[in-house]
Symmetry: D2
Subunit: 380 residues, 4 copies
């Protein structure tokens, strides 16, 4: 791996924040989101902790307290800020965080130009994938944080809603398939090991559910009757007073939506975004269909186009057969989250270039709407 | 089906409550448990609602308000008491509830002796299985409710802890297996349809984890270090200040436990009970093993004895291929709970006779300890 | 003091519960109310703890655990049940509690017939006043507990709403007055010591605010606009979604209310009941008036009739000059509650005979509605 | 009033923030504190709303949304940001807020130089006192917000702890006194009207309780035993796990404290700061003394020096006789807070010059520690 390939990925994180005001870097509007400043620092902390400290001789850490500030959840690495206090840490300032990134990159340059053992290269590769993962969170968290503000500021020029044609159904035959990652190329431990699954015949949609289709569900009283919802889903709808996807703004008859590029009219022919698993499952039930399993999605994915929305599957996030988590702190990357979350497949408009593949297992708790999540159906 | 077979199952519910004081029937110590009185009435409400009202001509309902009081979660059947207010309903009294049961049984006698259509018989059969399911909840809820009381009263003579021998490992071969219910005999909709699964080679324990083995985990600091826990599990341990299985009483060096038959010394050679999924998974991790999937459990179950504890599996409660929920309110029985819960297999010392089978899918949220839950391991 | 005078007061507690079902004695619908069973036992515990144990030689306590169960808040007397768990204690049963009362009375008979030191007599007198205080709580808590039940049972034959005539204004002159208790006769420590206060001229209403008058306030949008409310009061109205006094039942145009004698039509000419201090103050503001201070109430009380409703004053519950709390556990009776509560003066339809006097200082937190609380106005 | 006198007070608000980083202006660490940015804007909004809009012909408001952002609690002025969301408003930026202040000052210059009606002058005077009140909150809120940060930054050069000598007791005679504001000079409506009170003889301390004295209370187990606490106070201590004044840092045997000027060693001879009313009352009880009433404080204040700490009194914040709140929105300034709060007298090291007087009534809820609050005792 070269420093150029490293720095190209790293720089994207900063480019995404180019239009933010200093104040925008600070806040955390909910426990499950983080401040932009935190993402920028945490991704650097990853390289400092797992590459520079162990492998760069007489490395001087940038600041003794940063490990406390910017460790996310790696218990093995010691104490850390309480998650919902990230938004109260005004120091280190945004400028200091950018200095921190610069310092880390400079040190990483040395490491990368000294030539790498396989072990170090693997860790750096993980760090870059980690950075890309946080680039998507950076976008979704900035969106969620600024959404709190009645001014609905436009901060990042991304087209979130891309038209798509009406789609049909793709027939798949029953039999034994292999899923999971195999061979060369990076993957997370949760994609391993490749293994056989038996699938029945199924039919999967070639297109995502559009805003127009979802609007039908709403008009049919989808959020007013428990009939189509999971029990936990209906409780969520009532307790949180949910009436539609996140970021929809209903004024009179019109529906607009908040995007990173500001308030926009809702494009009815574009794929739906920002629904929770509960909403995805309720919609599927109402439509007389079901959500695909992650295995069905993976074996069929070559037959449809994807990458616009993270697609909720009806598979819980659990280990594959013969799953082994990596030793040490790195092992906390995936395994410990394998409960209470549902798998999403594909990628989204916010996913970093080069960070998607057909075996990728994304996962979130079923109530979250703030990612660019959408719906693909299977016939019952 | 005869009235005798019907009444035999119904009477067991009342026998279980024989030693309760009137006061004991009233309380609800947590939202996820219900008062004994409520179980006795709700199981009768089931027959009134789904059998007597639709199928017995000019049936007179026992009391116009009981449907409101004793509907559990069937939205299609209309309004109901807020779940956590069940324990505040002092009227109808326990005596009235027993009268209600008598009235329902008398009316059911008429139905049963008039000869049954297949449809009615199926519904009654479901009602009896529903009653048996609530008989187990009756025991676990009574235990939880009376556990709040420092007097630790003995109310039901059940031997909760039965010795077992040390066990070994059972080897199973990879290949395609069929799981799920097939053919004659009752099953819930969630056991259907029978379908093929592909399994790799695996080894499963012939015995359950004992109190002695679990105590090792505790002594090794199992509840003090996050290392072995899921992230959500560790949060649970810390927020709820969990230090061991439910109902354990530590005094000095001794450990005793609360049982339905009062306070007992803990039998170290008996199978562990009252652990959450989080604890089961953490123990397995600490032991260098894993929990079985429900498919692994089902294909191997003939090779080991089970029925003493509900066994946490590492499978989320999700629909089988081609799962169809029953039409109408009955359809709310299972399908809508297929999220956020983990499957337990087997049966327990509290399960009613004749209510267990190898395809049975029990399910609870991962934090609950109040059922008779235990651990069976698989090799990694 | 004679045993007859003692037992006459004690028996009233039991008479009040004559129509309760066993189940009704158990529940606790909110943390600030207690189960009927608890009141019956706690008042007996008071005599056991402060009279029998210290003064009756070789007294055998009724049950070793009862002190734990039935201590209310006397920290000096040791551990006690968590307040909001009182409703989960099904044992001791109601019957055992009645046995407990019988045992205590029998022992007290011995004490009372042996002749008393002044100290013991004073403690018994306090115990009887304590019992009478709990008799009123018994009524208000039973009402609150059974109000949860859609059946709205009638359990105690008390006429809660008594008509009154329209009233006028009573003029009082400025000057130095003496308030607080002086001379013979029982009083609580919080009524001492008698002391001088300077009052300006004021005018106080001769009658209480009626349901009719309060209804005007509601119709004028009293609960929809913040204008008349304290800031904390308005927060309370919005968070608790308060739209009127407790126990009012609005159906179409009609207003009925729940009483201990069951559901009744609301008598518009009777004095308003079950309003919080926040509501009393907001009504007064809306009416262009104010609430009296406790000093104003006390100096004027001979000029109007009172005793139908506890009357919210605009005085905070604070110690009088030279206030001394009693030594030992008895000292916890009043002093430690002298913060965050407002003083109520007078008495109510639920107050026990012989338990009211013009210097009596009742006190509750400003949000509570469940006592028989009403409003008397002063001119601004 | 001249523009010079106006601008001199206004400028102090900005001087206090001179050393803050942009990020420091944004956060709100608890619902009861506000972001520095918000204070700077809100005090300007006050002049825009109550002076410029009503009195400056064709005044152009600075920004149509600012009224929504920076209205504090004036319901009569319309919608406003939910209080605990103030810390999520990254826009308007700090720079825009400073521009806003500049714009307001420029417009106020016109108003002030056009000559003022009495009514306008009174409103401006209120606005300046309002600004000074927020200058103290600015200091206490900045301190609370930055205290969350492990770096414990030093941001404002204020000496918080000033030595004082040991003091004695001042004897005051019983009789009628006059308290409350009278005559020329500004005061808030809550200081009116002046009125007679009758006081008994009392003795009040000439000095405040020192850190050394308070430390004795802690060493004596003050936070471990309920004996000295109000019931609500003890609940607060236990639920919030309070073990001492806010901002104390215990490391080994040493005690240091966080100040606006960074971490300092605790000066034992300086007056205690940052205790709640509950702590003040518990300390007084432990010391065999009591807190003064606000009337006692006011009549005795000429005989001792004050101004270093806000002194908790044992008086609830309630209206004086003949209290009239101002008409319109201004009337929301004080009256609606006259419940659930205790009066503090004096002033503190954080009080703006010229903003203190002997009739001043400050008030806070009894659990708050974040103001510069201290203790003065009276003999029982």
């Amino acid at each position: 791996m070269t420093f150029e390939s490293y720095i190209q990925i790293r720089e994207r994180s900063e480019q995404l924040c180019a239009n933010l005001e200093t104040e925008d870097f600070v806040i955390q509007a909910a426990e499950h989101v983080s401040p932009a400043k935190w993402h920028l620092a945490h991704t650097s902390w990853f390289f400092e902790t797992f590459v520079l400290k162990p492998y760069l001789s007489d490395y001087q850490e940038f600041h003794p307290d940063f490990s406390f500030f910017f460790n996310s959840y790696y218990n093995a690495v010691g104490e850390r800020t309480v998650r919902n206090h990230r938004g109260l840490m005004t120091r280190p300032t945004t400028e200091e965080v950018f200095d921190y990134r610069g310092y880390i990159d400079e040190q990483m340059k040395t490491v990368l130009e000294n030539g790498l053992t396989e072990e170090v290269e693997a860790t750096i590769l993980l760090g870059l994938n980690h950075e890309q993962q946080h680039q998507e969170l950076l976008l979704t968290d900035i969106k969620y944080n600024l959404w709190q503000n009645p001014l609905l500021p436009a901060v990042i020029n991304i087209k979130e809603y891309l038209k798509q044609e009406e789609g049909g159904w793709i027939k798949m035959k029953s039999g034994i398939y292999e899923i999971g990652h195999e061979g060369e190329g990076f993957c997370y431990d949760n994609e391993c090991s490749q293994h056989k699954v038996y699938l029945d015949d199924f039919e999967i949609g070639s297109q995502l559910v559009s805003n127009r289709m979802y609007l039908e569900f709403i008009k049919a009283g989808g959020y007013e009757k428990p009939d189509f919802w999971h029990s936990d889903g209906w409780t969520w709808v009532q307790q949180e007073a949910i009436t539609g996807p996140l970021y929809w703004i209903k004024q009179g008859g019109d529906i607009s939506c908040y995007t990173l590029d500001g308030k926009k009219e809702l494009d009815l022919d574009a794929p739906l975004a920002h629904v929770s698993y509960y909403e995805a499952a309720a919609y599927a039930e109402w439509a007389g269909c079901r959500l695909p399993t992650e295995a069905e999605w993976e074996v069929a994915n070559r037959k449809f186009s994807w990458g616009n929305r993270w697609e909720w599957t009806n598979s819980a996030y659990l280990p594959y057969p013969r799953y082994q988590k990596a030793p040490g702190a790195i092992g906390e990357y995936n395994g410990k989250f394998m409960i209470n979350q549902m798998v999403l497949r594909g990628a989204s408009v916010a996913t970093s270039p080069g960070h998607s593949r057909s075996t990728y297992r994304n996962f979130f708790h079923p109530q979250y709407q703030w990612q660019f999540t959408g719906i693909r159906l299977c016939k019952k």
